[in-house]
Amino acid sequence: MDAFTTPLLAGTASGALLLIAALGLSLTFGQMGVINMAHGEFLMVGAYTAYVTQQVVTNADLSILIALPVAFVVAGLLGLLLEVAVISWMYRRPLDTLLVTVGVSLVLQQLAKDIFGAQGDPVVGPGWLEGTIPVFGYNWPLRQIFTVVLAVGALAALAALLKYTSFGRQIRATVQNRDLAETMGVSTRVVDRITFFVGSGLAGLGGVAVSLISGTNPNLGRAYIISAFLVVVAGGLGQLKGTVIAAFAVGVVTAFFADWTSAAMAQVATFALVVLFLQLRPQGLFTVRTRGLT
């Protein structure tokens, strides 16, 4: 039982992290076709926000709770800045946004190195997250459960936003048919900007969760960005449910392979599985159906 539950639960937690990271990516990729390679660095920004908050509010029990909204806003504003300063100039060349944001991510990583040092800093977890809960014989750390709760909370909030608010309707309209949405009076430019803010902010939230598990690190984003993109690719664009299923699937599958073989072989296996999966469903799990050719 243990050999089964341990990877399952640990994989669920890493899947939850992937989900927070991939939600923002899937939003911006699905809506604008923008591939933001700097998204991983927004995770890093979130982690450093948690660290800095802890320097100001030394009470660890409190500081994480404060860090969550602060990280959301800081990462979100950074994303907004990126959108306004760079990406909004190149909506006609989506593939090129990938390279530009690669440059941005290099700069952000080096900035973090210069400001906080290359070593990375620990973030003290709050007391109420110490300890474990036994689940089917596996002592599930509360920090991992916190990640899952955070991811599910973020997902629920995002889903509610998309489904029930008028802004959510505008986003969905823009994803489905940009020109038609524009004709109906939706300012797609504004919608794009706010989407970018929300997507980047979600990454900031994820960063706080990461900082609790592995502390801060200038290269922290790199570890997540590719897996998060694989999740987006496998999940399909334009719908949340694909991203959700793919995130947990990738997290759990990787954990099982890591348990059976090694962490490195698990990465190889996951990559191979995603490529194989694309043989079956080249568009990913779910996709918005269109009659377009491409």
Binding site: I35, L98, L99, M265
Partner: protein, 354 residues
């Protein structure tokens, strides 16, 4: 000039460019540069060879290949394994295997004792890997950003795998301390210059190959596929095959570059082949002009030189420059610096006609 002469010039201008490059790199550079600098230039040349392939796949084929480090690494490690075995001598195993393992050599190392097999592997390995992956991706019409992300994931996976297999591939340290190159002592400056000249020769060969490819029907189909894949399909061609050929050729060129990189740099390690290294290869191509004939090679040489010069002057700030280069070039000069003359000309034309 008459139109006929002009079109002749258009056709053979690339050849002229190759000739000038050959003279500069084979005659002028060895005469004026110190052996150390010449060796550095050799390193940039290896990147330039890979860049020529990227120009073919990305510039002409529209496939953003973010994982060329994998193929660079396949060639580099294949060559490094041979050099390592040469240094160890017949019957012996490479030093690091005794250091980290129990001194037994994994079976896949054995054929690399043979020089001809190594050369065969340098060409066949990347071709095989690129064919399998390219086939799987292109046949299912996965393209654009999906393709770019998959290739980058491939680079991440490859580097992770190398780091994790310290007993088989030297792990994080990679393979280094080569003494001989196919029987020639690598400590001898004359032999070092020979390796450099071979590398430049290979770059010129790769340039000649893409020159012919661009002139051929295949080259036209490739550009057509980049610009309107569906139309090419409707005309009865299979875009997957066209892209696959370009991808495989690009992979082989990257592998050749990597193979020469090992003896010139004296080391090949995961950091030479990971996702960051792959992105570095792209930077030169973007700077020089992805779709231009000489753009990728010259861009890669420039970025390689810039990396050395800037790292010497500002050890910590090099990354800022690389990042800024991406942002500025892609944002303002998407066709690369090589496109500047055309930009200036069109701006002037507009002025005069207005």
């Amino acid at each position: 000039m008459s139109p006929r002469n002009l079109s002749l010039l258009r056709t053979f201008a690339p050849l002229l460019g190759i000739a000038v490059l050959a003279v500069v790199m084979l005659v002028v550079a060895p005469a004026v540069l110190s052996p150390f600098r010449l060796n550095s230039l050799g390193k940039y040349t290896c990147w330039a060879i890979a860049a020529v392939g990227i120009g073919l796949a990305w510039g002409r084929g529209g496939m953003l290949v973010l994982g060329q480090g994998v193929f660079f690494g396949l060639g580099g490690y294949a060559m490094a394994m041979h050099l390592k075995l040469e240094a160890a001598g017949p019957g012996n195993v490479p030093d690091f295997m005794v250091l980290y393992g129990d001194g037994t050599m994994p079976g896949f190392w054995e054929p690399f004792r043979s020089g001809p097999f190594t050369i065969f592997a340098i060409l066949a390995l990347p071709a095989a890997v690129a064919t399998v992956i390219g086939w799987a991706i292109f046949k299912r019409r996965v393209k654009g950003a999906y393709f770019a992300i998959l290739t980058q994931a491939m680079a991440v996976v490859f580097a992770t795998l190398l780091v994790a297999t310290i007993k088989e591939t030297g792990g994080f340290n990679g393979l280094n301390q080569f003494t001989q190159f196919f029987g020639y002592n690598l400590y001898d400056p004359v032999n070092k210059q020979m390796v450099y000249s071979i590398t430049v020769g290979l770059l010129l060969v790769c340039l000649l190959i893409v020159w012919q490819l661009y002139r051929s029907r295949f080259g036209e189909l490739l550009v057509a596929t980049r610009d309107a894949e569906e139309r090419v399909r409707f005309l009865g061609h299979d875009p997957a095959n066209i892209k696959l050929v370009a991808f495989v050729v690009a992979a082989m060129m990257a592998s050749v570059g990597g193979a020469m990189f090992a003896p010139i740099a004296g080391i090949i390690s995961p950091s030479d082949v990971d996702a960051t290294a792959s992105i570095f290869l792209i930077a030169g191509v973007a700077l020089g002009g992805r779709a231009l004939f000489l753009g990728p090679a010259l861009g890669a040489l420039t970025v390689g030189y810039g990396r050395t010069a800037l790292s010497e002057a500002f050890p910590n700030q090099w990354t800022y420059f690389l990042g800024a280069l991406f942002v500025v070039v892609i944002l303002l000069l998407p066709r690369g610096v090589g496109d500047l003359p055309r930009l200036v000309r069109t701006t002037l034309d507009r002025r005069t006609s207005a």
